[in-house]
């Protein structure tokens, strides 16, 4: 059942990736599955891709000048989080509904390391992300035994386990008070102003995004897509499917941890919220809003959702869940391609019309 539906998801939710396509067809799996989402992608001409990349970088450089720098920092962290979820959802066909476990674990570990060891913040974040990857290993090992909707339930349940542990382990996590006063140490540089902190973390975030892009476009990433589209065939071709999925899961956990660690340093505070199931759900909806399987769509989704929530809380609106939930329902009902996916779809249609 889940096998079948995973494949149909591939067709329905993979609207194409304008601007990031370099579909060199290396994997034998791909050749065997000619109707998969990837091959249906229309390739944008090179200059469009570079123009988009340049525009994206310029926007990233400009961001804290146009928004509150604190909001801009949040957007960067959530962008990494969303991309890590999309790596699984869009390119491996696994919907993790428990990614808060990695985001939150890294936030706590980063916070603790920064407070107690006094390391510069990038080192603390790296330790946090490694801890998240380490946690992703057993969880992923168990979770990849199931697929589809079961995978979502299993990851959700394990994330809840992590939440309970953090809640009970008060001597370390300070329970409901949270970790306070996470420092932003960086070789004596003064990063207390969010404006400068934004530029300090931008290279790290860009590196993380680049890593995700490299993973997707490596031979390894091709195999993942092959597994997503047809797991039985990938297995018949001799690929150890479980091991590929687990590797993707751990890499994704690392990226989520990178985002979570930066989030902790950015807020100078870690609370149990970072591990809550609503955080996991929000990450998924950010990806769906941006466009599943588009990688950069998640960045857009993060920008939209973080900005919207900031605006709502600024205008004193209490029931944020009402809006977040409403977005969930509307996006899933009416806007399943997501922002990036819709744009890519329209561009592809125009391209096709011109060729005729």
């Amino acid at each position: 059942m889940s096998e079948r539906t995973e494949r149909s998801e591939g067709r329905e939710a993979m609207p194409g990736r304008l601007g990031v396509t370099s579909t060199v067809d290396t994997s034998p799996v791909k050749k065997a599955a000619p109707r998969s989402g990837l091959l249906a992608v229309a390739r944008a001409p090179g200059w469009v891709r570079y123009a988009l990349l340049a525009a994206g970088l310029l926007a990233a450089l400009w961001l804290p000048n146009g928004l509150y720098p604190a909001v801009a920092v949040d957007i960067l962290c959530w962008a990494l989080f969303a991309v890590s979820v999309d790596l699984l959802l869009g390119f491996t066909g696994l919907m993790s509904f428990g990614h808060a476990a990695f985001w939150g674990t890294s936030a706590y570990v980063t916070g603790l390391v920064a407070i107690h060891a006094g390391l510069p913040f990038p080192a603390a974040v790296l330790v946090g992300a490694l801890a998240a990857a380490l946690l992703a290993l057993p969880i992923g090992y168990l979770a990849v035994k199931r697929t589809g909707i079961y995978f979502a339930m299993v990851t959700l349940a394990f994330a809840q386990l992590v939440y309970y542990v953090a809640n009970e382990w008060r001597s370390v996590t300070q329970g409901e008070n949270g970790l306070q006063g996470v420092p932003r140490a960086f070789f004596g540089a003064d990063l207390t102003d969010d404006y400068y902190f934004y530029y300090a973390i931008l290279p790290i975030v860009l590196l993380g995004l680049l890593a995700a892009w490299r993973i997707v476009h490596s031979p390894f990433g091709r195999v993942l897509v092959g597994i997503r589209d047809n797991p039985a065939r990938a297995r018949a071709l001799g690929y150890p499917v479980h091991r590929y999925k687990l590797t993707a899961f751990v890499l994704s956990g690392f990226l989520a941890g990178l985002g979570g660690g930066l989030f902790a340093v950015g807020h100078r505070f870690v609370s149990l919220d970072v591990l809550h199931w609503t955080t996991s759900g929000k990450a998924v909806i950010v990806v769906v809003l941006g466009g599943i399987g588009t990688l950069w769509g998640g960045v857009l989704g993060a920008a939209l959702v973080v900005r919207l929530e900031d605006w709502l809380s600024f205008s004193g609106f209490e029931a944020i869940g009402l809006v977040t939930g409403g977005i969930f329902v509307l996006v899933v009902l009416l806007f399943r391609r997501g922002v990036w996916g819709t744009v890519a779809h329209l561009a592809r249609r125009r391209g096709a019309a011109r060729r005729e």
Partner: protein
Amino acid sequence: MSGFLQNTFNGLVGGAFYALLALGLAVIFGMLRVVNFAHGAFYMLGAFGAYVLLAEAGVPFWAALVIMPLALGLLGMALERAVIHRLTRLDPLYNFLLTFGLTLILQDLVKSRYGVQSSPYATPAELSGTVDFGLFDFPTYRVFILGFTVLLCAAVWWVLGRTRIGMVVRAATERPELTRAFGIDVGRWVTPVFGFGIALAGLAGVLAAPMRAVNPLMGADLIIVVFAVVVIGGLGSIFGSVAAGFGIGLIQAWGEAYLSDYPLVSQTVVFVVMAAVLLWRPAGLFGREEAPA
């Protein structure tokens, strides 16, 4: 010995709630291939509805026990027709996301109206006091919950096994295409079955109201545990889901009683069991193997 029996009894009562929720999840999943995240929210609405009916209209427990499941069942059927039904042809993950969104909405609606604090709900007078079992006393209300749930599960068992609608549901659960090929109109049963599953969640909520604190978040944490329960039992198996519900209730109660220095144990034991089941029988204790991946 009497202490052990008492803990066992407590475990069965706790398990009864898991069983009711898991049963609803399982019939809905069987018929629609939808994992209803909002199941916990409907449980919460059941409890809150009973509380509001009593506090603002003086409607007693017994009436609420009938009104709330009916009302929520109707609401569930309306929701199925309005939104869920539009997504059933797609990947089940979309409906999971949709019902997740509905959960946030329902929770916040209740929260913005009544706040997050817990409200007490008085045990109905007929069921207060204790029953003497010789070796130990037990609150009458808990005995009632257990008896009621067991009867209800038996009734559902009978309906599924012995009636025409039960046969259709079982057939549609196990071989959807073949059932359609035989000319059986599965579609007309989808909405009622969804409503029935929701009504069970609402019923569990009303039953929980006198025993547990009524607050807008009571369903959210519970539903995640119930997800673990159905992974353990095997979501495709209705019997497995109910059995796993009672089993987890028992293990939690024993953990709470004998490892009371470690509150974490009873909270997390369900996830540990789930991990063990995933290692040993990934399809769940009573589930059938999926196509290998």
